[in-house]
């Protein structure tokens, strides 16, 4: 049995909210530099250079890379030997978001109700996904998700007969129709299988994988590569102004599913692909 205090969780979440918004991931930086090499459009190269410069300024000055500091999407992996003390776990996470967004001069972008739409003023509540795992650690991932890219995401319940071609067509069409809106070059998370909601969660979890790391299953990795090529063939380019780099990566996650179903979810992320983690 290991005890972890709610106050520690709050402090950790607050710090992760800020770091995720100020500091572009090393893997993303690498991907930008590779994209700069591969992009043939001069406008595209110019955009990528501005984004690199922007990332430098944000890190140095500790200011958000993007004004949309996102919905605080938090993944918790709790070891089953962990006991949380000193407060409610989810309240501790929300308090961390509250403090991180307040003290970090991050934007408060959440409204209390989808129809009444009054700003909650503190960027809470967070969306929290929890998994219980073996062990005695608490892994926290904070992945601020912007509205623009999220709005371009989609899900369809395909017929099994539509097969891998149906899956490919849906994913490619989703990115094509999004065009410039999600701030290309994008990172595409794809969830195939599970149920309606599981597919969506798979797609979001796929976004957390370091860029450049393919799926361990060879067939899925081949699908990722095919999708990336097809998407880059769309010619949308950085900021949709035309170019050969429309996506930095496509990550696919799969899960068993019903004999009657073939759910496919596409969660699009912008080029910043923000997420930071800590293990307590």
């Amino acid at each position: 049995m290991r005890f972890i205090d709610a106050a520690t969780i709050t402090a950790t979440v607050a710090e992760l909210c800020q770091k995720a918004n100020y500091e572009l991931g090393e893997d993303v930086l690498r991907a930008f530099n590779e994209a700069l090499d591969q992009e043939i459009s001069l406008t595209g190269k110019d955009v990528l250079q501005q984004l690199l410069e922007n990332a430098r300024i944000a890190r140095e000055e500790q200011v958000p890379m993007c004004q949309d500091t996102g919905f605080a999407v938090v993944f918790l992996e709790i070891g089953q030997e962990v006991m949380i003390t000193g407060g409610d776990l989810y309240e501790a996470v929300n308090e961390g978001v509250r403090r991180g967004y307040r003290d970090g001069y991050l934007r408060k972008s959440i409204v209390d109700h989808p129809l009444r739409r009054k700003n909650t003023g503190d960027n809470t509540p967070a969306v929290i996904h929890t998994r219980i795992v073996p062990g005695d650690k608490l892994r926290i991932v904070v992945a601020p998700k912007g509205g623009g890219s999220e709005n371009m995401s989609g899900l369809r319940m395909l017929k099994p007969a539509e097969g891998v071609e149906g899956v490919k067509n849906f994913v490619i069409e989703q990115v094509r129709a999004a065009g410039p809106n999600p701030c290309p070059p994008v990172v595409v998370g794809v969830g195939i299988g599970g149920t309606f909601e599981k597919a969506a969660l798979l797609a979001k979890e796929a976004l957390l994988r370091p860029l450049g790391q393919s799926h361990p299953d060879a067939e899925v990795a081949a699908l990722e590569k095919e999708l990336l090529e097809a998407i880059n063939n769309l010619g949308i380019g950085p900021q949709g102004l035309g170019g050969r780099i429309t996506a930095l990566a496509v990550h696919v996650e799969v899960y068993p599913c019903h004999i009657a179903s073939l759910p496919v979810a596409v969660n699009i992320n912008c080029h910043a692909s923000r997420h930071k983690e800590a293990v307590l």
């Binding site: 043939i40 459009s41 406008t43 300024i57 200011v63 958000p64 972008s109 809106n181 063939n233 010619g235």
Partner: protein, 184 residues
């Protein structure tokens, strides 16, 4: 096309000459507004009431900035997705709005209004929000403070970098770009 410098308010004469792909450094006043503020403004227009900002010759920047750190004018301030304002934009364009800055495609209705009333749509680089903030020299809330980041702010900018995406001829840089680079 070499980069050009423009100062708001913009005249028909200036707007008519702009073509898609033209890089522009904007100077002067910009007004910020997103969906919530646009909805309120259109409601005022429907009631025959006065708007909180002038429209004639003006440029609206679709942005919800993050809060300013102490000693700074504004937080990070990159463009939001313009499509959400499409239901409202034609009304404002018809009343003299000459420019909009955002990112992402506009609807056929907005493009038609730009052709008819002579207005342009500029894109700023989405996500280059810390970089773009450096071109903003002053910022004050002029309407709807209760909307927080979605309030209408009056910004004064110096060499704010944008590119013309839709011009008065109805051309669209997003379409032209894809045509050149697709399927290679």
């Amino acid at each position: 096309m070499p980069q050009i410098r423009l100062t708001t308010p913009l005249t028909d004469e200036v707007v008519e000459k702009l073509r898609i792909g033209q890089r522009v450094l904007l100077n002067g006043v910009l007004y910020t507004a997103r969906d919530a503020a646009h909805k309120k403004m259109v409601e005022l227009l429907d009631r025959g009431e006065k708007l909180p900002i002038p429209l004639e010759g003006q440029v609206i920047y679709y942005v919800g900035p993050s809060p300013a750190k102490p000693g700074r004018v504004i937080g990070s301030a990159g463009p939001t997705t313009s499509g959400r304002m499409d239901p409202y934009a034609p009304r404002l364009i018809a009343l003299g709005l000459k420019g909009m800055i955002g990112k992402g495609k506009r609807s056929p209705e907005v493009i038609k209004a730009m052709k008819q009333y002579k207005a342009v749509y500029f894109a700023a680089v989405g996500g280059a929000a810390a970089l773009l903030a450096r071109a903003i020299k002053s910022c004050r809330v002029v309407a709807y403070p209760e909307l927080g980041p979605e309030a209408i702010h009056e910004l004064i900018v110096e060499d704010f970098p944008v590119i013309v995406v839709n011009d008065v001829l109805g051309a669209d840089l997003y379409d032209e770009g894809v045509k050149i680079y697709a399927g290679r």
